[in-house]
Symmetry: C2
Subunit: 647 residues, 2 copies
């Protein structure tokens, strides 16, 4: 290992900019960052001009983050109204490379579609006995802490901030939403550590957010209650928040997981989640901060024998009635699907149900259920589907629009691994997240090529093509060899890696498939099931309700059907299971083969890591194929129509 | 909690002895122990005389541990040839209570059937990240160590020794057979800790044994190899063992788990297990020590897709060919069944296969697979069946006889819990183990009543009857609501508590049930299966081979049969599963009910603990019932003939 890899910002990616004369106009921290990036003496005859326009004619059009790009008379010009815009404009030129310095370009206006583009770190600060230092972290340890203490050398945090800014991310929540006793103290006596991290994120335009424990007035303040209606509790938050802003004037705000999986919350006091969130919002409002309040609230002590409870319903049932009750600076952070970051889920019905609430959509870049950064799984095609989904049907607003006032959040997949993300190709998910948060209608495969070009600037066409081929359909490949037709889970409990079809079937977690000798799937219809389909507006409420119109890839999420049920694709459910699992495992092997042909074209450290991960993916995919096929063969008794080996 | 409970040695149990005049004749450490026990000034007209006969006429008949009991002329006399015999005679009088002082008794000779009666502690010394301080320990922490260091106060070790001696146990292995780096050092630089423990066990006639790592010459000695043929490795063991005996002259010997579940062993050097064991035996022989070499060797990285490998075959396949090659002081320690301490297993075929080898049979008092000391499960009836089993058929030697030269070993169920064993009733397993090791043909229910009488000396008949009724059939009750018909496992992986029917089905551990929509069970026949039945001598080889003669309770261990297969009992397999699971869960509730009627008759601390455990047993038994029934209903599609609720 030769040290930390530069991910998609190797020196070669800056060749086009660095070989030219550059002028930077403007003052301030972020302008200085740009100036340091170009690392060139300012020139009187520049080929690239980056200008912060103090009061340009377009004031208000570009906003904090936007910029214009123009090329004329042999000069490429970036103009921004605010410092962050200049920074984003600079990285846009880097992305363009030589193309930024070719033919003339008329003025283009670039603005992000979503104002807040955020990554959440599930960083436990200390080592959690079960989850390790980073919960669901597959990229080594924390970027911020080491052995429970702030890292002495935070230079890598600055490198991380640079990576994030280069793809448009402007907010980071630095600690786990499960706030244990240790991390709770970041809010008060360990606030200096937060400030130190913020100081390294700030030069790249990134605001620092903190996950806090709802019971902080008790845990930290020694109060008897955290009741949102209790004046002392409210005052504690006001005073505490004021101190935070005295230390970190551009602090972003709080993230809260309340009344979920054992975390404390307003339910203990008989208060609504709106009341809980508003208490924190009120404390933050005078300082311009926001609270991200997570909608991930459900009963994780369900009895599997109770068929009347449906975890998929929970977020809507809890939050839809509260629409309009949240403060303006309270953002309801909703997971993209109703369950928990499965490989395939329908879009959460909460997103369409709360027009009077600022919503943020939460994605999971850390590959908890999608191969844990040991499998190639480029997630941008899934995210793109989510962001383009129109909950009210064609012509209605897309998810990206509905989340416009809140933003897009991803659980980060980065850690102190030399490749940042464990699997070198998993970097692409972090990059693509930032790019989609900026432009949700961007083509995920164009973003993929962009990432390949930046990360491997000197790649031969053969290497670029191989990488593209390995990654473009890798999410669907992963889907093919894991849980079928949207049914979800079937993973080893706890660890969530590798197959265990019945692993969660008799558990309290509410994640069941109900496979028996006749059929499989969860009946979530209004007619005969849990009624979950009724949480969608039309046309989806009816589309999902009927087995005839429900999309194949979500059939078992919405319906319990016999193994002989014929899909819209023409295949039976059981034959589809066999076919996709044989195909998916074959594709995993093809991904490895593709790399074998080009691995020698990159450094041996990258190649070694790639081969180790790809070997594991091929092994694991075969294990998935065989367990799933054997399980359903044993249950259904239906042989594979193609006579392939089922154990 | 009022402190540590005296288990089956409360002061009241000594009332009959302590209310009489006692004389103790003899000298030595153990005689002093007896003298201290009676705690009475010696009398010139004693009613109880305990005599160590320096050279009695019966020399050689009683041996080290035997004694005679006689009552005549108003005097009860215990005579022993060796100090331990006097100690056992004393506790025998305690057990008899007033009955020892009633009518005249002719001379009775008492001798143990098995020479070595041993408990093994799976004590990790330090906290193991997964297994905790005591592996599979359900009774709190270690009796010996605290926070990785020897306990400052070892008085409880002496109390433990007293309990063990009172039921006849005379050997203790103090640390886990999985010898991690920390415990490895007990053999050398931490030997003083072993000596300190031995000093507290010695007054009760208990010799101390130590589990050692086969790779110790490398790990501790800095050598390049632990090869049994390497002179330096052999010399390291000789020198090290000599030092052990210089420190602990009555040291018992070593316990070794080699080439098993990741532990090192002779396979690494291409040597047989006999060669490995003999190297240690040779080092121990000059000092009178023995090595217990465990036969628990199997492939724990099996591929579930490979139907040709059968874990049940492993111990026999490894060890039977080595019969006659082990030294006299090498004892092959064989688990009672071929798998791993399941609720029901056939007797291990190894026990009949090695007439030229000293064998010890290993039982598991710690209830890993039998309710983890949260369920009432009195194991003596199972152990009794094992010990009475005649591998060569009627008239042949019983297991207890075949193990006569080696002994009986139990994995201890005791820890620093105030009740010693977590569940107060689990004490009975430890007690019964000692008693069965002394007299394997004793009636386990008589032993049960003996334990009840000692533990609750002042119990009303109602309380005694309730305890008897709760415990006598509790093992079979546990069997009824867990894995059916000898198929085993179906537990949550790792923790081994609670049901998970497919939990190990696709795992590398070799523990499968092969349930599909048509049937269930493992075909281990010679005709069509793995051939395991051929490891038994006749008549069992044929008895187990045929579905017509195979005992119902082991049917699925030996055969894969359709759900409609009719058992010898007349029931179908599927109906048997339903019937036993409804019955077992009902019986668990009855056990709780029985206690509810008498709980007020004991101290509130005992009652509180009992109620907490019984509530959990009832909950868990219902969970087992429902998961097993639902699993098999979903697979078979056969409804319960009695129309009871299956979820």
């Amino acid at each position: 290992m030769t040290g930390v890899h530069p991910a998609w910002l190797p020196a070669e990616a800056f060749r086009a900019v660095n070989s030219r004369r550059v002028a930077v106009h403007g003052e301030g921290l972020l302008v200085d960052t740009v100036r340091a990036e170009v690392a060139a003496a300012e020139s009187s005859s520049p080929e690239l001009v980056l200008s912060l326009a103090a009061s340009p004619g377009s004031r208000g059009v570009l906003g904090d983050d936007g910029f214009t790009l123009e090329r004329a008379d042999g000069v490429t010009r970036i103009v921004a109204e605010a410092p962050a815009g200049l920074l984003y404009g600079f990285f846009h030129v880097v992305r363009l490379g030589e193309a930024a310095f070719g033919a003339d370009r008329p003025v283009e206006v670039h603005r992000p579609a979503l104002r807040r583009r955020m990554v959440d770190h599930w960083d436990n600060v200390d080592i959690h006995p079960i989850m390790g230092q980073v919960e669901r972290g597959y990229a080594g340890g924390s970027l911020f802490w080491e052995r429970g203490a702030l890292r002495a050398d935070l230079s890598r945090v600055r490198d991380y901030a640079r990576l994030l800014a280069s793809c448009g991310i402007n907010a980071v929540a630095i600690n786990n939403v499960n706030v244990h006793r240790t991390e709770a103290h970041l809010l008060t006596d360990r606030l200096g550590e937060v400030a130190a991290i913020a100081a390294h994120l700030r030069p790249y335009g990134i605001r620092t957010h903190l996950s806090v424990n709802f019971a902080s007035p008790i845990v930290l303040g020694g109060l008897a209650t955290a009741d949102p209606r209790d004046p002392a509790a409210r005052q504690w938050w006001e005073v505490t928040t004021r101190r935070v802003y005295e230390t970190i004037p551009d602090f972003g705000g709080y993230v809260v997981k309340a009344d979920s999986e054992g975390q404390s919350g307003p339910f203990a006091y008989g208060r609504s989640h709106a009341e809980g969130a508003n208490m924190l919002a009120d404390a933050l409002a005078p300082h311009g901060g926001v609270v991200h309040w997570r909608a991930f609230v459900y009963n994780h002590r369900q009895d599997w024998r109770d068929r009347s409870t449906d975890r998929a319903r929970a977020a809507y049932d809890h939050f839809a009635p509260l629409d309009g009750q949240f403060r303006d600076n309270a953002i309801l952070q909703v997971k993209h699907g109703p369950m928990d970051f499965q490989t395939r889920e329908p879009v959460s019905p909460v997103i369409a149900a709360m027009p009077g609430t600022r919503l943020a959509v939460e994605l999971q870049a850390t590959q908890e259920y999608t191969g844990q950064q040991r499998h190639v799984c480029y997630l941008a095609p899934m995210w793109s589907e989510v962001l383009r989904f129109q909950p009210h049907g064609d012509g209605g607003p897309a998810v990206a629009t509905l989340a416009g006032s809140g933003g897009l959040v991803a659980v980060s997949n980065a850690g102190d691994d030399p490749f940042w993300t464990g699997h070198p190709l998993a970097q692409a998910n972090l990059y693509a997240f930032g790019r989609l948060a900026w432009a949700p209608d961007a083509d995920p495969l164009t973003i993929l090529d962009e990432w390949i070009g930046l990360t491997f600037p000197d790649a031969t066409p053969q290497l670029r093509q191989a990488l593209h081929a390995m990654m473009d359909d890798s999410w669907r490949t992963y889907e093919r060899y894991t849980a079928p037709l949207g049914v979800g889970f079937m993973v080893r409990p706890g660890r969530h890696y590798g197959p265990d079809v019945d692993g969660y079937e008799y558990s309290p977690w509410g994640t069941y498939h109900f496979a028996d000798r006749d059929g499989v799937g969860v009946d979530r219809t209004r007619a005969t099931g849990t009624g979950y389909t009724g949480q969608y507006p039309q046309p989806w409420a009816d589309t999902y309700e009927s087995v005839d119109t429900c999309p194949d890839e979500l059939l078992l999420f919405f319906h319990h059907v016999p193994y002989g049920h014929v899909l819209r694709s023409g295949s039976t459910v059981i034959q589809h299971i066999y076919d996709t699992h044989f195909a998916g495992a074959d594709e995993a092997a093809q991904i490895r083969d593709a790399w074998s042909a080009v691995g020698h074209l990159v450094g041996s450290d990258v190649d070694d890591r790639m081969r180790e991960r790809l070997d594991e993916q091929v092994r694991s995919a075969a294990e998935w194929r065989d367990q799933i096929n054997t399980y359903f063969y044993r249950k259904s008794g239906v042989p594979d129509a193609k006579g392939r080996r089922i154990y």
